[in-house]
């Protein structure tokens, strides 16, 4: 029996449901009689005797006398406590929340009846401030991934953990040469302490490997500040942000913290005014799409601009190229205006480029104000040189054992044969991973690791804040924390929980920290002093950087899939890329100009060739890509992996090059050849322009300062021409406001909504047929020149119209208005005429074209039990998270108090990393929503239709 069955009540009590599911939903209510009458096949095969009266009596007699014997069979005793014996912590129907952290983001896990079902940002964290990105929210689905490894195995055969440890220990004692543990960059104090202890006990060396490396930045800091670490930022302090291809609001790193800080300065009412954001990049990034000034520049041009800045702010001389002069002048002007309150960033992994960035920040006096480099004793960061050294040593047979903990270097180095052949020379190869991967396929020992939410750990999410990782469920499968696997091999007694608790001792208030999920270790960020003198030689290296010839190939992390570690997560695969709006695949993104010159169009299939590497990809013509470049998202093209990620896209890691001591993602050059047409690209939005319609209202900061109603001065005189009487407005009246200036378009809200409302995943083919089911979508429109487009993102969800066009047309009253102003969809009343969807001017209604697959039993554990699963033929849409409204109201009632503003947070609002969504009762003048509704920037989309939406938007303001 698998652990799953033992645990399926989720209470940790070891009980097992005693009856099969009699009904799953309203549709399949009753198990058919025929099913109940059916005998399992083979049950009565032994009774193939002739049906005579005597035989009948014989069998009858035998059966009757055999019956009492069954009483002698010893049935294993299972401990099961029904809910009638109330347990202290579990109340059916009431959620328990546990603090944890995922990939450097403090989160709260909502568990229902013992099962984690939703991830939300931890509002106690001063780092994440309650926001959560798409990956953190989707991580709860990865917990239930049926492709996870379930039992330890040696050379492909399953063994028990005891056998595993014994065999491995024996082999390790025989192994000669280096013993190396490869993890991703570790920021866990207790894990690092454990690894140090093991290095003493077993001679285990530790190196870190990140699929997308930041060695360049760390090495630069090492040279300029003497610390091998990554910089920290304070975007709220920055009046001007200049970013060279750094996607700090998107896939770069700590996107939630960055967006939380950054969005505060996108508010025109901030005491220091709006910040100014200039982005220079070769590929349209999420961050670039939000810039006040965005310049499409090739990598070479970016270097040219950077050198000009270095010349302006350092001891170097350089004249920018003619086409960059304007950009350079603009940036220099802005930076000089905000010395000490500016921030210059680069997304490059080239050490020399990052040194120039540091030097510019230094000479502007930004260190200690907007950017910090601090000593961190708890950190083991990836270093690409160490990885290369390891490969060299493996090839030279100088490595006896290698342990991979949660990393997949074989995939992330582009399935490199070099690494595979090197690995074959290592005697002991241990993969401590959650699911089979290209790397684990080369291992002879596989130690399936716990998911984060089954594990104990801790993590320094910033230099000041410690987050705790605690399990919210017992391990679903026969897995073990990788730390415990190592402890067992190293002969350290006890569990990692003990180790961790012991490690912290009295230094933190253990219970409180566990409860809050976070604690402050240091009160303030600090920065060590800048050491580097002249940058002349570095700048020369940047100038003399060897370019290849041909088309520049830009590998980038996209928002949803990132480095590919979570590629097997269907929520992320189906999350439309914030820019391309494509799902389930990576593409060759080329500029409109290049497409025109080569006669290519979206949907063509091309072969991108660089050296020996060939990638076959569908083309998307992407405004804002540099002319002579092709951008390809990393993280796709897994040859090994789960059913979701396999066969999707091509592995762009194979184009990554090791240059100047680090892996570089823009260093490959090659060519592109059309090999086919008609690729089915699964995009949720296929028309990219607003057609001059009044959908997104926009103005500039200067215009706003003169007139807060700037850009929002259109007035529709709507006569009272309604045929039907208006709805009464008393009690609570719910409304939402979306700040178009804050919203970055990151799409975290979509995943939040999916998880909260059991929105089904429909798959690539269905998305290609434009049948995405997301209740909330982000419309993205381009404006202006195709080469230098301006971008707007607009969250679009059910507008909960007062005069809802959908309500009138439903013949069976399946969509009706509630007394608190919500447009409600009554699933079990819906017959599926789809008239409501046709008549919805916002096209936010979603139809269940089929009975969508909810996955296997273990995958269905993620479903929110408060929300029914919709069967086919039913319309669905945003409900304003009515279950949360109900929950909030009941809670206030139980506590005998008035409902307070903020008691109810809808899912999209809760997760929003930029606080762009406000929800509340508009009848109470004190609420945040009432204030927003009174804002001069407030407008509603398609106001002239007089449908009177309850979802309002605030004008987008660009500081240009």
């Amino acid at each position: 029996m698998s652990n799953l069955e033992k645990e399926s009540c989720g209470s940790g009590c070891g009980c097992k449901p005693s009856t099969p599911d009699y009904w799953q939903d309203v549709e399949n209510k009753v198990v058919s009689k025929a099913e109940l009458m059916e005998f399992p096949e083979g049950e009565f095969d032994n009774f193939s005797v002739r049906k005579t009266r005597r035989n009948f009596l014989k069998i009858m007699g035998y059966s009757v006398s055999a019956l009492p014997l069954t009483g002698c069979i010893k049935i294993p005793v299972r401990k099961a406590l029904p809910y009638t014996y109330k347990q202290n912590t579990i109340i059916p129907g009431v959620a328990n929340w546990y603090a944890s952290a995922f990939n450097g983001l403090p989160v709260l896990l909502k568990t229902r009846e013992g099962r984690p079902i939703k991830v939300e940002g931890n509002e106690k964290s001063s780092f994440g401030q309650g926001g959560a990105n798409a990956q953190a929210q989707a991580s709860v689905l990865s917990l239930y991934d049926t492709n996870r490894l379930r039992e330890p195995s040696i050379e492909g055969s399953e063994v028990s953990w005891e056998q595993f440890d014994d065999s491995l220990r024996k082999l390790l004692s025989e192994a000669k040469g280096r013993k190396v543990l490869v993890t991703k960059s570790l920021r866990s104090p207790s894990e690092i302490s454990l690894v140090k202890e093991l290095s003493n006990k077993m001679g285990l060396e530790h190196i870190a490997f990140d699929a997308v490396s930041s060695t360049g930045e760390a090495s630069a800091n090492s040279e300029t500040h003497g610390v091998y670490t990554l910089s920290e930022f304070d975007f709220e302090q920055a009046d001007v942000v200049v970013s060279f291809g750094n996607d700090f609001l998107g896939a770069h790193r700590s996107d939630v913290a960055n967006a939380k800080q950054f969005s505060k300065r996108r508010n025109p009412k901030h005491s220091r005014g709006m910040n100014k954001h200039i982005q220079v990049e070769s590929n349209m990034s999420l961050t670039g799409s939000n810039a006040d000034h965005r310049f499409t520049r090739s990598e070479q041009d970016q270097r040219d601009i950077l050198l000009s800045l270095a010349a302006e702010f350092g001891d170097y001389s350089h004249m920018p190229k003619a086409n960059n002069k304007e950009v350079v002048a603009k940036i220099i002007k802005e930076l000089k205006l905000s010395r000490g309150n500016a921030l210059v960033l680069s997304g490059s992994n080239d050490k020399n480029v990052q040194i120039l960035i540091n030097q510019i920040n230094h000479s502007l006096g930004n260190y200690g104000k907007t950017i910090f480099v601090s000593e961190k004793s708890y950190e083991k960061l990836s270093n690409d040189q160490e990885v290369e050294q390891l490969i060299a040593d493996m090839n030279g047979s100088r490595v006896g054992a290698v342990f991979f903990a949660g990393v997949d270097p074989v995939y992330a180095l582009g399935e490199s044969e070099r690494l595979k052949s090197a690995l074959s020379k290592v005697r002991v190869r241990v993969a401590m991973v959650e699911s089979a991967s290209s790397t684990s396929n080369t291992a002879n020992f596989i130690a399936p690791a716990n998911h984060t939410y089954e594990s104990w750990s801790d993590e320094m999410v910033s230099s000041t804040e410690l987050a705790m990782v605690q399990p919210a469920i017992q391990p679903l499968f026969g897995t073990r924390m990788w730390t415990e696997t190592l402890m067992s091999l190293g002969g350290i007694e006890g569990s990692f929980y003990d180790y961790m608790k012991n490690y912290w001792g009295n230094r933190i208030d253990w219970n409180q920290t566990l409860h809050d999920g976070v604690t402050q270790i240091k009160s303030e960020k600090d920065s060590v002093s800048y050491k580097l003198g002249s940058i002349n030689s570095v700048a020369k290296k940047v100038k003399n950087y060897q370019e290849g010839s041909g088309l520049q190939i830009i590998g980038f992390k996209n928002y949803a899939i990132g480095d590919g570690a979570m590629a097997n997560n269907p929520w992320l695969q189906e999350l439309p890329d914030p820019i391309t709006k494509a799902t389930w695949d990576n593409h060759a993104l080329i500029s409109p100009a290049y497409a025109k010159s080569e006669g290519l169009s979206t949907g063509d299939i091309v072969e991108v060739t660089s050296g020996k590497t060939k990638l076959k990809l569908p083309v998307i013509v992407q405004p804002g890509v540099a002319q002579n470049a092709v951008a390809i998202a990393l993280g796709y093209g897994h040859s090994v992996g789960g059913k979701v990620s396999r066969k999707l896209g091509a592995n762009a890691f194979s184009l990554v090059k090791f240059v100047n001591g680090s892996y570089q993602y823009t260093a490959s050059f090659g060519s592109l050849k059309k090999v086919g047409t008609g690729a089915k690209i699964a995009r949720t939005q296929t028309h990219q322009y607003m057609e001059g319609r009044d959908i997104v209202r926009e103005t500039t900061f200067d215009a706003y300062k003169k007139n807060p109603k700037a850009g929002n001065d259109k007035v529709f005189k709507l006569a009272n021409v309604d045929i039907y009487p208006a709805h009464k407005k008393d009690g609570h009246q719910w409304a939402m406001a979306i700040n178009m200036s804050s919203c970055t378009g990151c799409s975290a809200c979509i995943v939040s909504c999916n998880a909260e409302n059991n929105v089904p995943v429909v798959g690539k083919t269905e998305i290609a047929r434009k049948r995405d089911m997301h209740w909330l979508r982000l419309d993205r429109y381009y404006k202006g020149d195709d080469n230098e487009p301006e971008v707007v993102h607009q969250p679009m969800l059910c507008q909960h119209c007062e005069n809802a066009p959908c309500e009138n047309v439903c013949p069976v009253l399946a969509t009706v208005h509630s007394s608190d102003g919500i447009n409600q969809q009554i699933y079990n009343r819906c017959v599926g005429t789809r008239y409501c969807a046709n008549n919805c001017p916002y096209k936010v209604r979603r139809f269940n074209w089929f009975n969508y697959d909810r996955g296997e039993e273990v995958e269905r554990m993620v479903l929110n039990p408060d929300i029914s699963q919709r069967t086919r033929g039913i319309m669905e849409k945003c409900s304003f998270c009515i279950q949360r409204i109900q929950d909030g109201k009941l809670k206030a009632k139980r506590e005998r108090r008035e409902l307070q503003d903020g008691d109810i947070k809808v899912a999209c609002q809760q997760s929003c990393p930029s606080n762009a969504i406000v929800f509340g009762d508009m009848m109470n003048p004190e609420t945040e929503i009432s204030k927003q509704l009174a804002d001069e920037r407030k407008y509603v989309v398609l106001e002239e239709l007089n449908v009177q939406p309850r979802v309002n938007y605030l004008t987008k303001i660009r500081n240009k």
Partner: protein, 453 residues
């Protein structure tokens, strides 16, 4: 023939026949074994019907997802076909009811078949609202029956509910009207047949018709009353169907011109379908003496008039879209003519506005090949009209982010073909088992323009 008769009056039945011969001309076919042509035609129709039925069974079993619809385009071929068939069903009632009230005696030769066609077309139309629903097995909820759902009832504000009433009333009245008209002829069949089984069946079907004065009197009065009831329905059905669109807010749908425009279009397509059927039937069953060139000429004129009404409506829509100043409305119409579905729009214009213009010429109206071809062209055009209205309006509405394209799947194509299978299967059965021409009524107008009684 007597010289008293005006030259302007031409005989409704050109050749001289006795009443017995008229009965034989029309009713003998019911007594004979089916012809080879009938067998082939019936088999093909039944095959198409079967494939269509299996397709629908697959679709109902699997989901609407088997169609080509998407989040933007919630209706396309389904409702296009529905409106198409309802439109075709228009001619029958118009011919039998309105022309009866207006004393258009020439109607007698074609009213029976036209009414049958109406009923069959409405049956085909009725399939689509049923199967287009996500959960057709619950569609009985659209009927306002007393139930235990608490305050949940039907939504009287919804045009779809009005549709339910309009279509079901139309079907009921058409069916009753048609059946009442059949009674004297069914009695004739009963009286003529030599087979005892048929005698029993037709005896039951003819409700004991005895041909007495009283019976005839009741029958005449009933026909008039039913005609009076049916006449407003001719207008109401398609008016209500058009309100499915007109009361919505979708640009291209939300327009007050729809009721008259739809009614004219329906008569247009209905007469075209009657022509298609009658041209073949009169030839196969040798009914040239009853369904004469004069009938065909008259129907061509109706098509010409209604075709021009429809053309006027197309023009008016465009003008109003411009005149309204509504940017969504304007875009919608420009998009119809020049957008990705331009070919559908221009097919519609050529079929519905340009092609009927041939009927200005009497030569063309009297050329059976031309009339037959154009009757089919008109029906293709009218199908495109509904496709243009429904699909091209939906595919690009208010927010460009949701704009999308539609193409049918094999399921939709075969469902549509299947309804043709149903239509022709029913029609083939009809002409084998029921009098295809109203014998009694033809006899009553036989004397017209003859002075010999």
């Amino acid at each position: 023939m007597s010289d008293v008769v005006s030259d302007l009056r031409h005989k409704l039945v050109p050749e001289d026949r006795t009443y017995k011969q008229i009965s034989e001309d029309i009713l003998d076919t019911l007594e004979e074994a089916p012809s080879k042509g009938w067998l082939i035609g019936f088999s093909i129709s039944a095959l198409l019907l079967t494939i269509g039925f299996l397709t629908v069974a697959y679709q109902v079993g699997t989901g609407i997802g088997t169609w080509g619809l998407n989040k933007t385009i919630g209706w396309s071929w389904d409702i296009t076909n529905f409106v198409f068939w309802v439109g075709i069903g228009h001619a029958g009632t118009l011919i039998s009811a309105v022309l009866l009230i207006f004393r258009q005696k020439w109607r007698t030769a074609i009213n029976r078949a036209a009414e049958a066609m109406t009923i069959f077309a409405v049956a085909c139309a009725g399939i689509f609202p049923l199967i287009h629903a996500g959960r057709p097995w619950l569609l009985y909820w659209v009927f306002p029956y007393p139930n235990t759902h608490g305050s949940l009832w039907t939504n009287f504000r919804s045009p779809l509910l009005w549709d339910v009433f309009a279509i079901s009333t139309y079907l009921t009245v058409s069916l009753v009207f048609w059946y009442m008209g059949l009674l004297p002829d069914l009695a004739s069949v009963r009286d003529r047949t030599k087979s005892s089984i048929r005698k029993v069946i037709y005896g039951l079907l003819s409700f004991g018709w005895n041909g007495s004065n009283r019976t005839w009197h009741h029958w005449e009065v009933m026909s008039l009353v039913l005609a009076g009831l049916a006449t407003p329905l001719v207008l109401s059905v398609h008016t209500i169907v058009s309100m499915d669109f007109a009361t919505s807010i979708v640009p291209g749908w939300h327009t007050t011109i729809f009721p008259p425009y739809f009614v004219a279009g329906a008569i247009f397509s209905g007469f075209a379908m009657v022509l298609t059927l009658m041209i073949v039937t009169r030839k196969v069953l040798n009914w040239e003496n009853y369904v004469t060139m004069a009938h065909i000429d008259a129907m061509c004129k109706v098509i010409l008039v209604t075709g021009m009404i429809v053309g006027l409506a197309y023009g008016t829509e465009f003008f109003i879209a411009w005149y309204s100043g509504n940017e969504y409305e304007r875009y919608c119409f420009i998009n119809r003519a020049t957008g990705p579905y331009w070919w559908a729009y221009w097919s519609m214009i050529s079929c519905n506005v340009i092609s009927p213009q041939f009927f200005w010429s009497k030569k063309m109206r009297n050329n059976l090949v031309v009339v037959f071809a154009l009757s089919i062209v008109v029906n293709i055009g009218m199908w495109f009209e509904r496709f243009v209205i429904i699909t091209t309006s939906l595919h690009r509405d208010f927010l460009p982010s949701s704009w999308s394209m539609y193409s049918p799947t094999w399921v939709e194509i075969w469902t549509f073909i299947g309804t043709f299978g149903l239509f022709f299967t029913l029609f083939f059965i009809f002409i084998r088992v029921l009098p295809g021409i109203a014998v009694a009524e033809v006899k009553s107008v036989y004397k017209f323009a003859r002075n010999d009684h």
